[in-house]
């Protein structure tokens, strides 16, 4: 495929028969929601692990203090 025909194909692909703005907005939104889902789920898990560790350390310290 020559460069020119590739560019032509690409322009047509983006244009989507005139429906480009609708299609790419819909796909872009979907990509954004996927990204949000991934990031927020990971952030939730990381912060849960951190807080759980803090609780563990705190309980270990208080147990150490109680010991005579």
């Amino acid at each position: 495929m020559s460069l020119q025909s590739f560019i032509q194909f690409f322009v047509q692909f983006i244009h989507m028969g005139g429906y480009g703005p609708y299609i790419w907005t819909a796909y872009g939104l979907t990509a954004g929601v996927y990204l949000w889902n991934i990031l927020s789920a990971r952030r939730l898990h990381t912060s849960a692990v951190m807080r759980a560790r803090q609780r563990l350390i705190a309980s270990a310290e208080s147990q150490a203090l109680e010991r005579p």
């Binding site: 299609i23 819909a26 939730l44 898990h45 849960a48």
Partner: protein, 244 residues
Amino acid sequence: MATWVWFHKLASPPHIYRIAGRLTLLFTVPGVLALIVGLYGGLVTAPADYQQGDSFRIIYVHAPAAWLSLLCYTAMAIAAAVGLVWRMKVAHAFAAATAPIGASFALVCLVSGSLWGRPMWGTWWVWDARLTSQLVLFFLYLGYMALRHSFDDLSRADRASGVLAVIGLVNVPIIHYSVYWWSTLHQGSTVLRAGGPSMPPSMLVPLLLCFFAYTCCYGALVCVRLRAEVLNRERSPNWLSLNA
């Protein structure tokens, strides 16, 4: 009884935490692969529709999002019911982990549908039975999450929001059958339809791949969120390995 061992094992936080961790990767790999192939198929290899031209390609993000929003709600309501009846914390944790995912895909369904409706139907939005019941689903998710937020006590939040989730389950069949029970602007189902899918394989295969991909991605996402929910409910998770 031996047959119930797996059920009681599911209720054990360290067990579920470990299983969810392993399942995450198991869901992610096929999910991402199918999503790439499916969307490529929908955007590039599938032919344009004889009536709608290229605009019908929105179906590849729209219909699986609709499916996932219904699947998530059903899973959430069943988990909430199990949590309410058997007082199973892990079930409530699963329901709570599912809600934001379901809500986000209900939103994708509504907005992508609107972006499809504008050029084809000639309107962004109509108040027909299908669109309205799907909007109600989105608000049910929001209501469920808001209700959880309004309680400081987790077990009370679980119970109150669980009842709401179970009640809202009534809306799920209404959404699916709305296009058959009432006259609507929205068309009938293409895939889950009496007489088989009304699409040639060149269009259908990428769509089925997208359905599969969305479902796998939900599996992976809910596993990560479930681990967080389970951890948050443990006062001292001694089983948590500190270097994990």
